[in-house]
């Protein structure tokens, strides 16, 4: 068999940099991810962010959703977030997701529509699809952004100034630095964002809410369907860590999986959820889907109780916007204490049972 290099030059998108205000071109696009007919929350969060960016730029917000038997099922989960135009691609074999058909749809749609920005969830799907689309269009992509803003960029080497670029802001290098990335010359400017980093809100302003159902066969060739999903099994989330008003999180200092049992007890009495630091997850103390931090879930609870967590930057990045932060740590100089409202110096074995006891005694 032979491998042929694809000619990317023909796909190069170099739209003029003056930003049109027309109804169609240069919109902000959001790829909406689905599980069967259910639109993922991360996509709604991105629609809200995309609406703000579109307003700043004076352009439209467009959305694209791709699946099987979704017509009439998904529109109401997408349009309320401020969408001017929604492209629904509905055909057999578009769900479960496989790389090639979804890539073909986005690449061909973007060649027609010439969006200036495309946002996707930093999910398994978004991180499979985003790079493939960006490589097809030779456009830049930044993974796992924590902030997105509009601003200018001066290329000193070539003495050029670019206005209205997307600042793709992300932690790098183990979370020790934050980098602002721009794509001056290539469109669309692509970014992925993790679930929970942005917050969704129904849009109160005016928007067009147009829905179109393009003919899928014009965008995807039958050869794109060679990868077959033999078995697809998704379970409903076991917990709602992201939306919990109170989070009890444990670190490596919990010492063991059994040590986490008392955190589950504390979370239960407080009606909260349990999370863990990367160190605790890596050590097997709690499940991977409970990891809080830059490479896990981002949470914004009213109360965050950090137990035996030292506070690596990558962890703090995922919880710093919590309302009240309580740190329980035997080390008075643990870095997390710097951002805590209450620092309880003591061992978790001593403190956590007392938190349970005095909450039970006083809460009635």
């Amino acid at each position: 068999m032979s491998i042929v290099m694809l000619d990317n030059q023909s796909a190069k998108v170099t739209t003029p940099l003056a930003h049109g205000r027309g109804a169609g071109g240069e919109a902000v696009f959001v790829y909406c991810e689905i599980e069967e007919t259910h639109v993922q929350e991360v996509s709604q969060e991105l629609l809200t962010k995309g609406r703000k960016l579109a307003n700043t730029l004076g352009v439209e917000l467009h959305a694209v959703v791709v699946g099987t038997a979704i017509k009439g099922q998904v529109e109401d989960q997408i349009l309320p977030y401020g969408v001017d135009k929604l492209f629904v691609f509905d055909a057999p074999e578009l769900f479960p997701y496989t790389s090639a058909p979804h890539t073909d749809i986005l690449v061909n749609l973007f060649r027609e529509e010439q969006p200036q920005i495309c946002l996707m969830g930093a999910t398994v799907i978004g991180r499979d699809l985003g790079p493939r689309v960006s490589s097809s269009l030779t456009s830049g992509l930044t993974a796992d952004c924590t902030e997105l803003e509009i601003g200018s960029y001066e290329d000193k080497k070539n003495d050029k100034v670019y206005d209205n670029l997307l600042y793709q802001i992300r932690p790098a290098f183990g979370g020790n630095i934050v980098a602002t990335i721009v794509n001056p010359e290539h469109r669309p400017q692509m970014a992925t964002v993790r679930s929970g980093v942005m917050q969704k809100a129904i849009y109160e302003g005016e928007c067009r809410k147009e829905v179109v159902y393009p003919e899928v066969s014009k965008y995807v060739s039958p050869e794109a369907f060679v990868v077959k999903v033999l078995d697809h099994h998704v379970e409903a989330a076991k917990h709602n860590l992201k939306g919990a008003p109170i989070v009890v999180a444990g670190g490596y200092g919990m010492g063991s999986k059994e040590g986490f049992d008392m955190l589950f007890e504390l979370a239960k009495v407080l009606h909260g959820e349990v999370g863990g630091s990367r160190a605790a997850v890596d050590a097997g103390f709690c499940d991977h889907d409970r990891q809080i931090g830059q490479t896990g879930v981002t949470v914004h609870p009213k109360v965050y109780i950090a137990c035996g967590i030292s506070g690596q930057i990558q962890h703090i990045a995922g919880m710093q916007d919590s309302g009240i932060i309580i740190s329980v740590n035997s080390d008075p100089d643990a870095p997390i204490n710097r951002i805590a409202d209450y620092v309880i110096v003591g061992t978790v074995e001593e403190v956590v049972p007392k938190l349970i006891k005095y909450y039970k005694q006083n809460s009635k």
Partner: protein, 294 residues
């Protein structure tokens, strides 16, 4: 059936231990300031490749890496564990590459290697955490891709078409996927760990180096290199892989770093308490009174 397998592996700075000198003024990584290691998930990928080789007699595994001459160490690490060969892509023109320019370079090298059945790498590297290179290499070569692989279950030939079956992890679940070869796979860190180095292979390959790793004045082993060609590792420049310099390195990178800032968290005014019953009870009462907890 014999398969030609290429493992994508990266030498990465150990980001778990970052000092102040780790970034250059341009915002790229100053790799020399940090200990260099084999990217952890690439080791998981190597293990899957070695298992495929064992299941399919006559198969070969080669390690492809890009980096400065000292990244030859990655190829040696692969040989010590059972790889058959390796290629180091090294050239100043490759420097400063973002994921797209990196993928272009790797794709040209894979094309040069030729007739590859399986390209397999870690899901992502710990210095960037982007997970972009695998899918971008696949796109540049026009190949199928399956990412987030937990286990490669095997390759079968059905009606003249070789197909790989893999188990992959998706958000909240698992999938079993079948893809025709050639294919690009990326492997999770939760997949089976890589086997340890084999002492005999370490003995065999410990002097193996790329030409650029050797001092100009010659080494004590020059006669050995003459006698045993397998101790001279493949080393390719942009020209060797017929690469287009404008698509490599900084000039081939659509993304630019505008700014880098160090993270400093503003210290809050905090109340420090002891673990005494009185302190904890008064905090709980305070939180209840202010209706912060209910």
């Amino acid at each position: 059936m014999a398969l030609k397998i290429v493992v994508l592996a990266k030498q990465v700075p150990d980001t778990r231990n970052v000092g102040k000198d780790a970034m250059t003024a341009e915002g790229t990584v100053n790799r020399s300031a940090l200990p260099a290691i084999f990217n952890p998930e690439d080791l998981n990928a190597l293990e899957q490749a070695l298992r495929l080789k064992e299941q399919n007699p006559g198969s070969t595994v080669g390690v492809l890496t890009m980096g400065p001459p000292r990244a030859g160490e990655i190829i040696r690490q692969g040989l010590y564990r059972g790889a058959d060969t390796g290629w180091l892509l090294t050239d100043r023109l490759f420097a400063g590459a973002d994921t797209l320019a990196t993928s272009y370079a790797l794709a040209t090298a894979i094309k040069k290697i030729g007739d590859v059945d399986v390209v397999i790498g870690g899901r992502q590297a710990i210095d960037g955490d982007t997970a972009q290179v695998g899918p971008q290499v696949a796109q540049k070569l026009g190949l199928n891709q399956v990412t987030y692989v937990e286990e490669v279950q095997g390759v079968q030939e059905v009606q003249g078409v070789k197909k790989v079956t893999v188990k992959r992890v998706i958000d909240g679940g698992v999938e079993t996927v079948e893809a025709p070869l050639p294919v690009v796979l990326t492997v999770n860190g939760s997949a089976a760990p890589c086997r340890p180095q084999n002492a005999k292979l370490v003995m065999k390959y410990k002097r193996a180096t790329c030409p650029l790793e050797r001092p100009a004045e010659g080494t004590a082993y020059d006669a050995l290199y003459e006698e045993r060609p397998y101790l001279t590792l493949n080393q390719w420049s942009v020209a060797d892989v017929d690469g287009d310099p404008s698509q490599c390195g900084l000039s081939g990178s659509p993304t630019k770093v505008k700014a880098i800032k160090n993270i400093v968290f503003q210290a809050k005014e905090s109340k420090t308490l002891t673990a005494s019953d009185a302190d904890i009870e008064s905090m709980i009462k305070e939180l209840l009174d202010e209706k912060i907890i209910g």
